[in-house]
Subunit: 303 residues, 4 copies
C-alpha cells in the first residue's frame, strides 16, 4: 500500500490498536493474538495499529516486535491494513521501522523518542530520518517528549512525501488548530488521546476526522456505533453512550496511573477474549475493579 | 435581570469584556471608559463583562471597581447587560459581588480565589457562599487555582439556582466534556481561554456555544463576523480569519508572559481607541510590536 | 525598626507566622488572637509574620487585616518584631503595605500578585512599587505566580535599599543557588516552603540560614529544638525529629489540598490552643485526622 | 566487583559519565572513545558511567551499546570501575543489563522506562526484575517517568541486596529527604541533575554525598577541584567557581532544549578532545555558542 492509499484509509473510518497477547509467563502468545485479530477484523474498522501504545509497544523486545508485526500482517492480509508502531531514539526507531516494512506493514506510527528533551530542529531531524528510512506511509504521534509545532510539522511534510498522518496525543486545542490551519489537507489527522471517544466531537470540529479506539478491543460493536454516531453528527447517541458508559469508565481508568492500557486488557478478559496480563511497569486491575468494569460493559448489551 | 434571563442572554450571542481605561498616571479614566462602552455597545454583542480579566480586574482597587461597574451599568442601561467580575478569597469576593449588585450589574463572574490550593469541597463552599450573597445570576470561571470537576459543579448548581453559567479557562477537553455531560442544559457554557476564537469550533462541538471575545475591543466588526461564521458553521470564513489574522496574532501574543491582556490594549491604541497603559505586573507591548500588530489589523480592513 | 535592623532580626533566629483566630461564625477573634501572641512570644523566635500564609492572609478582608496587624503590633511591642503580609495587584498591595506601616509593623512580606501571568520586567516594577510605598523593610516571597530570577532580584535590590529579605517558596535548587550566588549578603534568605523543617538542611547549605516554622504554632518547644539543632549542625536530633514527627506529619498534610494551613490549625486545637476553623476555600481536618495528629504530637512530650 | 564494593566506590569520590564518540557519519568511533577513557581515567574520579545520559544512551542501538561497554571495561580494567546504563521497558532493560554484566561492567544504572505512566507498584516490579537479572550492583535513577517514593525504594532495597545506589534526577527536596530519612545508609546517594555542581551543597546537606560530573568531560581538573572543595566544605572555592564558570555556563545550557548533553560535547571539542557530533533528536551548539563556551573555559586556565 503506498503512502497516499494509507492516507485515504486513515481518513475513511475507525482505527484501532489490538492488544498484544501475553501468556502466564508474560511471553508473547501468538495463537491468542492471531485469534484476536481474526475476531477484530470482522468488525468495521479501517486499519489496525499493531504494537502501538495499547499493544504495549513500550514493553516489547525487538524480536517479539518482528513476530507481532509479521503475525498481524499475515492474519489480516488483503482484509485490513496494518500500521506498525515504532519509537525510541533515531537509530532504534529506524531499525523497527525497517523491520516493519520488511514484515509487510502498510504504514508506520512514530511514537516519541526516549528520555531526552529536544528542540524543534532536533525533533524535525529525528522524524525526517525515520520517514526516509521506509517507503511506506508514516504517521507521526505528538505525545510526551515529542511536541511538534505547526512550523515543524510543515517542514517535515514538505521534505517527506510519505508523511501522511498526524496523531494528536496532547488535546491542546490551540496547538491542534494551528497545525490544522497550516497543514490543511496535506495530512490526515487522528485523535490519539486515551479513550478517544470522549474527544471525538471536539476533534472532529478541529478537522481531526478519525481516531483510534481502544475500547474497540472489548466492545467493538459499541465502538463502531459511537464512531458512526460521530460521523453522522448523532449527538443524542454520543451523549447517551458518554453518560452511561464512557464517563463511568473514565472514573475507573483514572483511578490508577498506567490504567489507560491495563483497563483495556481487563475489558478483554471480562468479555471472554483475554489477552493475558499486562507487563511491568503496568499493573493489572484488581478483581474488584474487573467487576466494576463488567457491570459497565454488561449495560451495553451483546457486542 | 433575573438569573434565568441572564442565562438566555449569555446563550444568545457574542460576549466581550471591555478594557479598563487608565490615564498616564495609571488612574481610572472614567470619561475614556464611558466612550469605549458607547462605542462597543453599538456592535452586536449580547453582554459585556465589566472589570473582567481583560478589564484588569486583578489590578483594581475596591473603590475603582465600584466606579467601573457603576459607570458601565449607567452607560449601557437598557441596551446591554453588564456582568461584573469578582474574585479573591470568599469574604472579599462577596464584598465585590454585593457591590456589583448594588451598582446594578446584571450578573457576576467569579474569578478564582487567591494563592492557596484547595480541594473540591473547599471550592464548592467558596462558590456557594458567593452565589448566595447575591440575587442576580452567577457564572463561575474554571481557571487557575479553581478547577471544579463535574461532580462539584453539579452540587453547586443544585444548591444555587442563580448559578447559570460556566466559563472554561482550561481547554481540557475531558474535563469540559464531563461537565457538559453531567450538567447538560442546566448551565450556559462560555469559552474563556485567551483569544477564544481559536477555540470556538472545538468548544461549540462540546456544547460551549458562546465565548467572550477579547479582540472585540479593537476589531469588533471582525469579532462579530467570526462569531456569526461560527454560529453558521461557515468554516471557510473561520479558517480564513484564523490563518490570516488569529494565528499570526497568537505568535505575537505568545512572545511575552501576560501579553494576553497587553496586546488587547495595544490593539485599542492601534485603532485609535486607546485605553491607556496596562498596570503592573503587566507590561505594554514595545513600539515595534505595536507596528507588527498594526500590520495585522490593517489587513482586516475597516471595522 | 529600620530596614537594616529588620535584616539582622531575620537572620538572627527562627521565624514563625501565627495562625489567625476565627470564632464559630468565622469572624476574627481578637481576644483569642491576642492570647495566642502572648503565648508564642514567650518562646524563642526572632520575629512573627502576622497575616502571612499560615495566618490565612488570602481569606482576610481589608478591615480585618488592619485589626490583625494592629493587634499583633500592640501585643508584641518591644518584645517581638511583627512583619505583615501584603499581596494582590500592585495598588491593593500598596494599600495593605501602607496600612501595615501605619499600624506599626516592622516589616512587610510581599506575597504574589493575583491571577495574571507576568514577565520579569512586570514583576520587577510591581515589587519596586511596593517597596517604595513604605519606609520599613521588605521581604519578597518567590512563590506561585511570582517567580523572580536572579537578575530581577538584583535589579530590585539595587533600586530599593529597603528590600532586605528573600523568601523562597519554590525549593528549586538551581534558582535559589543562582540568586544566592548573585546577591550574596545583600539579602537575608528565608526558607518558605510548607513544613520548612524538612528543607532546613538543604536550605542552610544554600545560604538560606533561617526559615519560618508553621509547626511553631502548636509545638513551639519542638520547633525551637529543631531550629537549634539546625544551627548547631546536630544532624542526629534533626534526623530523629524528621523520622518520628515530620515525615508522618507530611503524610497527613499531603492527604488533602490546602492542608498545609488546615493541619496547623488542627494542631493548635489538638494542643488546647484552638484558633477556630479555617475559612473557605480551605477545609478543616476530619475528626479522625485530628486524632492521627494528636498521636504524633503526643509522642513529642510536653511543649 | 560485588555490589557492596560498588557501594563503597560510589561513596568514595567523584563520578563521571564519558561522552560517547561518534564520527562524521554519526557512527560509534571506538578509537576516539578509547582515547577519551585513557585521558579521563588519569584524573581522580572513582567510577565512570559508560553509556549513561551524557553518553547518549538514549540514542544507541543495542549492538553499539555492547561495543561501548566492552570497550570501556577493556580500557579501564583494574583502574576504574565501569557502571553501565540500562533503560526502556522491563524486558529490554534486562537484555541491556545482562549484556553489560557479560561485558564485565561493575554495576548498572537503571534509567527510566519508556513512554507509559506507571504507579508505584508497577515501578517496583520493574526495578526489582532488573535487579534480579544481574548479580552486580545496581543504582536506580529517579528521573522522568520513574519517580519512586520512599516506601517503594525501601521495598526494592529489602528485596534486592544488590540495589546499592540511588541517583536523584528531580531535585525535589522533600522527596529526597524522605528517601534519605527512610533508607539511611542502606544506599549510596548520587546527585543526578544536569550540571550537578550547582546542586552539590544542597545535596550534600541531604546526605547525597557524591554526584556525577558532566563537565569532567572537558574541564576535569576544575571538576575535581570543585568536588574536593565540596568534600572539604570550602565554600569560597565553590562560590567562586559557581559565579565565574557554572552560572554563566548554565545560561548557555538553558538556551536550548536538550543542550544539557550537547554543551558537554561542545566543551570536549573546544578543549581539543572532540567526541564528534550529537545524534538526533539533539542538536549541536552553534559556532557562536562554541565561542561563548570557549571564553568561559579559557578563564579556568589549563586543565
Amino acid at each position: 500500500m503506498d503512502a497516499q492509499e494509507l492516507k485515504q484509509v486513515i481518513g475513511a473510518g475507525l482505527l484501532s490498536f489490538p492488544l498484544t497477547d501475553f501468556d502466564e509467563q508474560h511471553d508473547f502468545n501468538k495463537s491468542s493474538y492471531r485469534k484476536r485479530l481474526e475476531w477484530l477484523k470482522s468488525y468495521d474498522a479501517s486499519a489496525l495499529f499493531a504494537a502501538g501504545g495499547t499493544g504495549e509497544f513500550f514493553s516489547l523486545a525487538k524480536d517479539e516486535y518482528a513476530d507481532i508485526i509479521g503475525t498481524a500482517v499475515d492474519e489480516c492480509r488483503g482484509q485490513m491494513p496494518i500500521i506498525a508502531g515504532t519509537g525510541y531514539g533515531t537509530r532504534v526507531a529506524i531499525e523497527y521501522a525497517v523491520e516493519a516494512e520488511r514484515q509487510g506493514a502498510d504504514g508506520i506510527l512514530i511514537l516519541p523518542h526516549y528520555l531526552t528533551e529536544a528542540d524543534q530542529e532536533g525533533l524535525r531531524r529525528h522524524v525526517v530520518a525515520i520517514c526516509k528510512s521506509v517507503s511506506i506511509g508514516v504517521i507521526v504521534y505528538n505525545r510526551g517528549l515529542c511536541r511538534l509545532n505547526a512550523e515543524t510539522v510543515e517542514k517535515i511534510a514538505d521534505e517527506c512525501p510519505n508523511l501522511v498522518g498526524f496523531k494528536d496525543g496532547f488535546g491542546d486545542i490551540e496547538l491542534m488548530m494551528s497545525i490544522r490551519s497550516r497543514l490543511g489537507d496535506r495530512l490526515a489527522y487522528i485523535g490519539g488521546l486515551p479513550t478517544a471517544e470522549v474527544f471525538a466531537s471536539a476533534c472532529k470540529a478541529m478537522g481531526v476526522s478519525t481516531y483510534s479506539s481502544a475500547v474497540f478491543n472489548f466492545i467493538p460493536r459499541t465502538a463502531v456505533e459511537f464512531y458512526n454516531a460521530s460521523v453522522n453528527n448523532d449527538s443524542a447517541t454520543m451523549d447517551h453512550l458518554l453518560k452511561t458508559f464512557f464517563f463511568p469508565y473514565l472514573e475507573l481508568r483514572n483511578s490508577g496511573q498506567g490504567y489507560a492500557v491495563s483497563i483495556v486488557k481487563a475489558g478483554a478478559t471480562v468479555v471472554g477474549k483475554t489477552a493475558g496480563p499486562v507487563r511491568t511497569p503496568l499493573c493489572d486491575l484488581s478483581p474488584a475493579q474487573h467487576e466494576q468494569l463488567r457491570t459497565l460493559i454488561d449495560r451495553l448489551g451483546p457486542q
